[in-house]
C-alpha cells in the first residue's frame, strides 16, 4: 500500500515534470523556428549584399586554393559562392565547398553536399551574368539550436531535482497533522476512550476526527453500560449466594432436624429465586441486542395473550376484540412481567384497555394497588431497581425486560399513577387493530 505522502509526491512530481517537459518542447520549437527565421534572413541579406557589390566582368575565376589559417566556428557558418551563368565558379569563401550549393533557381533551396546539408539562398543577376549563392551548413544550425535548448534543459533538470526534494519535504510538512493523529491513535491504550484532539493546523481532519470521536463515544457508552450491568449483576447475585452459603452452613452445623429442614427449605427458595434472576439477566442480555424482525411478527389476540398468564378474577379485559402485531414469544414475556407485577400489588382490579385509534393506539395496564411514589416512577425500569413496596422475591429486572422488548418492537413505555390508585403502564407504538 502506498502512503499518502508517496502518492502526493508522485502526483506532484509527475505533473511538475509534465509542465516542465512541455515548456522545454515549446521552447525548442520556438527557438528552432526563430533561429531558422533569423538565419534565413541573414542568408538573404548576405546574398543581396554580395550581389549588390558586383559589376559585370569584375570578377575572374579563382583557383581552388586551400590552407591559410583555420576557420573559426563562426566563419564556418556562412559559405558564399559566385558562379557565372555558364556554370563556372568565379569566387567562393573559404568555408564553401567547390560543388555548386544550389541548382541555380532563385530563392531558398536545400542540398546535400559531401554528406553535409546546406541551406542556400540564390540571387540571379542576369544583367551582370553572375549567380550568388550564400549557404548555411545545417549541421551547424542544428548545433546552434541544440546549444540553446541544452542551455535551457540543464537548469530545468537540476530545477526538477531540487523541486522533487522540495515537494517531498513540503508534502511531509503538509501531512504532519495526519502523522500526529496517526501517532496519537497508534500509541493509544485500549481502555483510553477519551476523544481525539486535532492539531490547530489540521482543519481538514476535523470531520474525520469527529466521526472517530463519535465512534469512541458510542463504544465508551456501550462499555460503560456493560460494565455497569456486569457489576450490578454480580452485586445482585452475591446476596442470594450469601444467603445460600449461610443456610448451607447452618444445615451442616446443626443437630436439630427442624432447624436443618428449615435451612434446606430456605436454600430451595433462594435457588429458585436466583434461577429467576439468572433467567432475567439472560433474557435482558438477549433483548438488549436483538431488534425484532418484521418477518417474525404475527397478529395475535390481546385477550388470549393476557389470559395465557393464568386465570385471575381481578383481571378486566376490553370487551371488544383487539389484535397486536408483535413477535409472539418475546411479547409474551412483556405481558407476563407486567401481569406478575400487577398481580403482586393489585387489591381487586387489574384493568387492560386500548386507548386511541390506529397508529396512536395505546395499550394500558392498570392496577388498584398502593401505587408508586413520584420519585420511584422515574426509576421504574432501571435494572435491579425495586420499589420500597415491591413484593419480596422479585429480581428487579421485569420492567427492564419490558422496556428492552418494547424498544426492540419500536415502541415505548410510560409509567404514570393510575386513576384506580395503583400504577398505570402505557405501551405506545404497537400496531393494534380491532379483530
Amino acid at each position: 500500500m502506498m502512503s499518502i505522502r508517496m502518492r502526493l509526491f508522485v502526483i506532484l512530481a509527475l505533473v511538475t515534470a509534465l509542465v516542465w517537459g512541455g515548456a522545454v518542447v515549446w521552447v525548442e520549437i520556438q527557438t528552432r523556428h526563430e533561429v531558422q527565421r533569423v538565419l534565413d534572413r541573414r542568408l538573404m541579406e548576405s546574398a543581396r549584399l554580395v550581389s549588390s557589390m558586383m559589376r559585370p566582368g569584375s570578377l575572374s575565376p579563382v583557383a581552388n586554393e586551400e590552407g591559410g589559417r583555420p576557420l573559426t566556428a563562426y566563419e564556418r557558418q556562412l559559405a558564399c559562392q559566385i558562379w557565372s551563368m555558364q556554370g563556372e565558379l568565379i569566387a567562393r569563401s573559404r568555408s564553401a565547398p567547390t560543388e555548386m550549393l544550389a541548382d541555380g533557381e532563385d530563392g531558398f533551396s536545400e542540398r546535400v553536399i559531401d554528406g553535409q546539408r546546406w541551406r542556400v539562398y540564390t540571387v540571379h543577376m542576369p544583367e551582370s551574368g553572375y549567380r550568388v549563392m550564400v549557404g548555411d551548413n545545417l549541421a551547424i544550425r542544428e548545433h546552434l539550436v541544440g546549444s540553446v535548448v541544452t542551455g535551457l534543459l540543464a537548469p530545468a533538470v537540476l530545477g526538477l531535482l531540487a523541486l522533487g526534494v522540495l515537494i517531498w519535504w513540503s508534502v511531509g510538512a503538509g501531512l504532519r497533522p495526519i502523522q500526529q493523529m496517526t501517532r496519537a491513535l497508534a500509541s493509544r491504550r485500549a481502555d483510553d476512550l477519551t476523544s481525539i484532539d486535532v492539531a490547530p493546523d489540521g482543519k481538514d481532519l476535523l470531520p474525520f476526527a469527529s466521526a472517530l470521536n463519535g465512534l469512541i463515544a458510542r463504544v465508551s457508552e456501550a462499555r460503560r453500560r456493560e460494565t455497569e450491568f456486569t457489576a450490578a449483576a454480580a452485586h445482585e447475585l452475591r446476596t442470594p449466594l450469601a444467603g445460600l452459603r449461610v443456610q448451607a452452613q447452618i444445615a451442616a452445623a446443626t443437630d436439630d432436624p427442624t432447624v436443618r429442614k428449615h435451612a434446606l427449605e430456605q436454600i430451595q427458595t433462594s435457588v429458585d429465586r436466583t434461577a429467576r434472576l439468572v433467567t432475567g439477566l439472560l433474557t435482558l442480555a438477549r433483548e438488549d441486542e436483538a431488534a425484532v424482525d418484521d418477518a417474525a411478527k404475527r397478529w395475535i389476540d390481546l385477550r388470549s395473550l393476557f389470559q395465557a398468564t393464568g386465570a385471575d378474577d381481578r383481571l378486566h379485559l376490553p370487551r371488544e376484540e383487539f389484535q397486536l402485531h408483535v413477535q409472539p414469544d418475546r411479547f409474551e414475556t412483556v405481558v407476563a412481567n407486567l401481569m406478575a407485577n400487577a398481580r403482586g400489588v393489585a387489591r381487586t382490579r387489574i384493568c387492560v384497555t386500548v386507548v386511541g385509534e390506529g397508529p396512536d393506539a395505546v395499550l394500558v395496564i392498570e392496577d388498584d394497588g398502593l401505587g408508586v411514589s413520584a420519585a420511584d416512577l422515574e426509576r421504574l425500569g432501571r435494572r435491579f431497581f425495586r420499589t420500597a413496596g415491591a413484593p419480596v422475591g422479585g429480581s428487579g429486572l421485569g420492567l427492564s425486560i419490558v422496556l428492552s422488548t418494547m424498544k426492540a418492537h419500536g415502541g415505548t413505555v410510560r409509567f404514570a399513577p393510575s386513576a384506580l390508585g395503583g400504577l398505570r403502564v402505557e405501551l405506545h407504538g404497537l400496531p393494534i387493530r380491532r379483530g
Binding site: 454480580a234 452485586h235 445482585e236 452475591r238 446476596t239 442470594p240 449466594l241 450469601a242 444467603g243 445460600l244 452459603r245 449461610v246 443456610q247 452452613q249 447452618i250 452445623a253 446443626t254 432447624v259 428449615h262 435451612a263 430456605q266 436454600i267 427458595t269 433462594s270 429465586r273 425495586r386 420499589t387 420500597a388 415491591a390 419480596v392 422475591g393
Partner: protein, 217 residues
Amino acid sequence: MRLLAVEDDPVLADGLCVGLGACGWTVEPVARVEDALAALESSTFDAVVLDLGLPDGDGLEILRFVRQRDMDVGVVILSARDDSRDRITGLDTGADDYVGKPFDLDELAARLRAVRRRLLGRSQPALSHEGVTLDPKSRLAWRGQGDLHLSRREFAILEALMERPSHVLSRSQLEERLYGWQEDIGSNAVEVHIHHLRAKLGADFIRTVRGLGYTLQ
C-alpha cells in the same frame, strides 16, 4: 448480645437470625432503612449487621444515624459491593468492620465478637471476674477447673453483666438481650434466671440494686 440484622434478602436475613442465634445472640431482622432507624431509636443493640443496598435507601444512612447519635453499638457492613473503594467509604463513615458477600457465618460471628471486644476496650477473648471465666465463642463458663453448666439464657445474662462489671443493668435491658421481639417473656423470667445463677455462683456474685437492676460490684 443483641443484634440488629438489616438485610432485605429474606433467605439471608433468616440465615443470620438462625445462624447468629445459634451463637447465643438475639437477632432482630429488618429489611428497610425506615424500620432499622425505628428499631435503633426504640431499643438498644450491641451490634448492627448492615446491608448497604436496601429497597428504600442506602444502608450508610443507618450508619450515619448511629454515629451521629453517638450510639454505643458496633456496626459490621455486610455488602455485595465489596471493592476497596466501597470498603474505604464504609469504614470511614464509621463502620467497625466490612464483610463482602458471600461470607462465612463463623467468620462473621468472630468479627462481631471482635468488634464487641474492641468496643468494650478489651483484648482478651475470654471474660473473667472474681475467678469466673466466660468464653463467648464456645459459650462455656467455669470457675477454677469446674464447669459451671449454664443454660443459654443464664450465660447471656452473666455475659452481659461481666462485660461491664461496674454497670447496673435493668431488668428490661436484660430482657432485651434474652428475647427477640417475637418471643413471649414471662413476667419474672429474668428473676428466675438470676436466681439460678446465684445458686451456681454464690449468692453475692450478682448484687441487686434496688429499683435499678443488677450489677457485679
